[in-house]
Amino acid sequence: MEGAQSANVTIADPERGAMRFGLRAKFIVTVLLILTVTMAANTWYFVHTSTQRQEQQLRERGHALGRLISLISPQAIIAFDYLQLNDYTREVSAQPDVVYGVIVTPKGIPISTYIRGADAATRHQAQAARPDDLVETLRRLGGEADLLSLDFPIVHNDVELGRFLVGLSRGSLHKEIHRQLVTQLLLLAAVVLFLGAAIYTVFRFNVLQPIQKLITASRVVARGEYAVVDVDSTDEFGMLARAFNAMASEVKHKQERLQRQANFDSLTGLPNRMMAFERIGLEVQRAKRQGERFALMFIDLDNFKDVNDSLGHPAGDRLLVDIGARLKDCMRACDTVARLGGDEFLVVVPTFSDEAEIERIAARIAKAVSEPQLLCGRKVVAKCSIGVAIYPDNGESVEALMANADNAMYQAKAVHSGSAMFFTEEMNTRLRERVLLEQGLDAAVEQGQLTLFFQPVHQTRCGRLKGAEVLLRWRHPERGFISPADFVPVAEASGQIVQIGDWVLEQACRCWSAWRSAGIDPGSLAINISSVQFKRNISERLGRLMAAYGIPPHALELELTERVLLEDHKQVAEEFTKLRALGVRLALDDFGTGYSSLSYLKYFRFDLLKIDRSFVAGLPDSLDDASVVKAILAMAAGLDLEVVAEGVETHTQLQFLSAQACDYAQGYLIAKPMDEMSYGKYLQELNAGGAEGAISRLMGGVAARDAISF
């Protein structure tokens, strides 16, 4: 794990304060509750049994006094010795806890009354009480709310002489209970506090601290760092800590793997887009801090898709791996080489002296990329386009630098494949234009700003009209005509080409049908088909249009570039079969400018080839061009393919082509592209013999010179 660190956990818990009722508080409350309930129950039991025992003792004491008085009183009662009885009751009442002692007659009349602490008047009050109220009166006069009232008969020779009433106060009993309760509660509090503190101490050292360590370690791990908990016990927490450490280690390894997967390209092992952006961000900060510049080089392999399509994806992957390794090898250790995805690479050059050094680095990169490599038994030479953006000249943010480097690369690729370009503001201007074009194309179809032009194609030997290539023009309301070379790539990139292509097909069909209805033979119309459009089931669309406009199969010719063939061979082959079933003729456009794989010609059945104007332009003086054209014509003859030469602008070119048995010629020499109306007139003139004659003369002239030449 990059940046990971191992730490023994001693970090204070920053969120501890946020925890309102944690394990510690719960434990303390629970322990205190249990201890308090247990000790309270124990205290209650102790006090309860003590109360019962003391109540029993009080009762026994009362009974002892009562029995004694009952035993000694008969003589005094019989002798009317009330003073003696008074002595008895006084002595009884002087005993601890005794509130009153009263001897009453069998009728309940008190004959000796003594209330502890009461004066004579109070005693007289008691003596004056009615028998029914006597006990209550005594209780009231004694000032005791809680009395144990006992009643003993005084009997002599089985004759009841009276009764002895004695009231014992539970006051001292209550005081004793209260004292015991206070003592017990104090003891309870002390025991609860002591046991609570002891249990908490054990809990803290054996549970809370390990848990706290685990929590802190978990948070460290959650922050993406690596933490290990000290294990110094063999109990469950020790096991938990070991399990945690194992988990943290596993997490660390997985994080490292994820980190690698997230930041490095799995194919090449180079930093991926995410890490590249991060590095660029760091470089921006560093450069800004130090006031330095650094360079961003956006590398895109040219036509890499062709390798994948022709040699398979494993071969393409091998190429990417090798190029990545070569890029890394040719750069300094301080430079960053990253793969952004697909065939895009990025190089960050943190220090450089001047733009010339960057150019040298770009050249070194181009050279490294273009080193031949053997893939699937074939030697492959890759090329790349490089866009360069300089911080801070071309942007001060990662996004701006990336966008500008990409733009520069795009321009380099557009201008010259395999070149490197520094970003300029003009590129941005072009980019803005491109965006404007893209936006304008939407309205172009709807508002009828697109229009078709037709450039005639004639036979080189006799000048007879073969037909015309349908060319698309965009008449912009503000910018005037916009070249297809400008907006078609934009439409292809945005996907708008499908809609535009459909429109072209329908308009072509409509025009042909209109001319035919006008009694004019328009010949065949060659329509350029984009690879994007080709993949959208063009045979079905074309079939509907031909049926709708009554177009015979030979009247339409579809021009495909080699790029179409680079797609999924199976799908292309299926579409080819469907088109052939329609009877539509197929032409391979711009032959010689691409891979020009002869296997395409073998695999896909074309009706004719179109020699790119770049080969025709040098004719007949350029020996190379002449050789290529001758080779193409020879190959086409061998494959029974007709050939159309594009861009014929001079008589010598036409003569050369005619002499080499090129079937058809197309170019300004013969006729410029013309709109529907003009082409209609052109056709009328041809039909009338005017144009036909001129063309024939032109062609005838060629033949005469050919004769001279050859």
């Binding site: 002798a79 009317f80 009330y82 003596q127």
Partner: protein, 298 residues
């Protein structure tokens, strides 16, 4: 407890010899009281024996001191019957008892003084009833219970009240007689409604022992006799006059000096005054009426 001596016998040989012998005998007899050196002071068991000894020991010591070489000792008994036996046997040289006992023993004993209690020389016999009893006349006690303190020989607690009842026409069988262990208890019994009337000295209701035990205000005197002189002090009739007079003087002069006052205080007596036999004539009348001639002791 006996303290006593035998008198000598005189043979009259001649008149002169006889006269001389009589004179000599008298002298010798007097000398015999002195030569014996002991006098027995008998105290009736009004209180228990221990208290009685404690109360009168100072008096005995004082008498011993004042009488010179005569040792005076205190004698009492646990009950009245035993005491009365001692009186009849003349075991006591000086005796302090109740009025009825004096009247019965007057043939052997001469009264020389009487006690003064609560500052009073005399006390009347009385019949008490509860104020809420509704009894306003002695005749209403017919068929009721009358309680007396002590026994039937109690002068103030039985004889005097009984005399009042007799005088009201109530015979012994006209009411039920109950006896408390002592006079205060008779009032307490009345107070506690154990009797309808109580007999006793009119002084009873003022005694602290009664006041502390009951609300004496609940009681009232229904009838009362003439004042009766308090408890008598008597000496044997055989006692020489000089000694008798000396003892009388010592007793009646106790209240004149602090030491004597302390002695009186110890004996719970406020004073001792001279008395003679005729002072107890009223008592004799009552005793005779109540107890009959047999009760007079003659």
């Amino acid at each position: 407890m006996i303290v006593g001596s035998q008198g000598g016998r005189f043979r009259v040989v001649t008149k002169y010899v006889g006269l001389c012998g009589l004179l000599l005998a008298t002298v010798l007899k007097s000398a015999a009281y002195a030569a014996d050196g002991n006098l027995v002071l008998g105290i009736f068991p009004r209180y228990n024996a221990t208290d009685t000894a404690t109360m009168y020991m100072p008096l005995a010591d004082y008498l011993s001191q004042r009488l010179g070489n005569i040792k005076v000792t205190v004698a009492t008994t646990k009950d009245f019957d035993t005491f009365w036996k001692g009186v009849e046997d003349q075991k006591y040289d000086v005796v302090h008892f109740n009025q009825y006992q004096f009247i019965r023993s007057a043939k052997n004993y001469r009264v020389i003084a009487h006690s003064q209690e609560f500052g009073r020389n005399a006390v009347a016999g009385a019949i008490f009833v509860r104020r809420d009893s509704g009894i306003t006349d002695l005749t209403q006690l017919r068929g009721r219970t009358v309680i007396f303190g002590g026994g039937r020989d109690a002068m103030l607690s039985y004889i005097a009240p009984r005399f009042l009842l007799m005088r009201a026409g109530l015979k012994d069988e006209d009411f039920k007689s109950e006896f408390a262990v002592n006079p205060p208890n008779a009032l307490l019994a009345l107070y506690h409604r154990q009797a309808d009337a109580a007999g006793g000295g009119d002084i009873l209701v003022d005694l602290p022992v009664v006041k502390n035990a009951i609300d004496a205000g609940e009681l009232k005197v229904l009838a009362m006799t003439d004042p009766l002189l308090f408890l008598p002090w008597a000496v044997k009739r055989t006692m020489p006059a000089k000694l008798r007079n000396s003892i009388q003087s010592i007793l009646t002069e106790l209240g004149q000096d602090p030491a004597g006052k302390e002695i009186l205080k110890a004996a719970k007596t406020s004073g001792i005054n001279k008395a003679e036999d005729k002072d107890y004539a009223v008592h004799r009348t009552m005793v005779k009426a109540v107890m009959g001639p047999k009760g007079m002791g003659r």
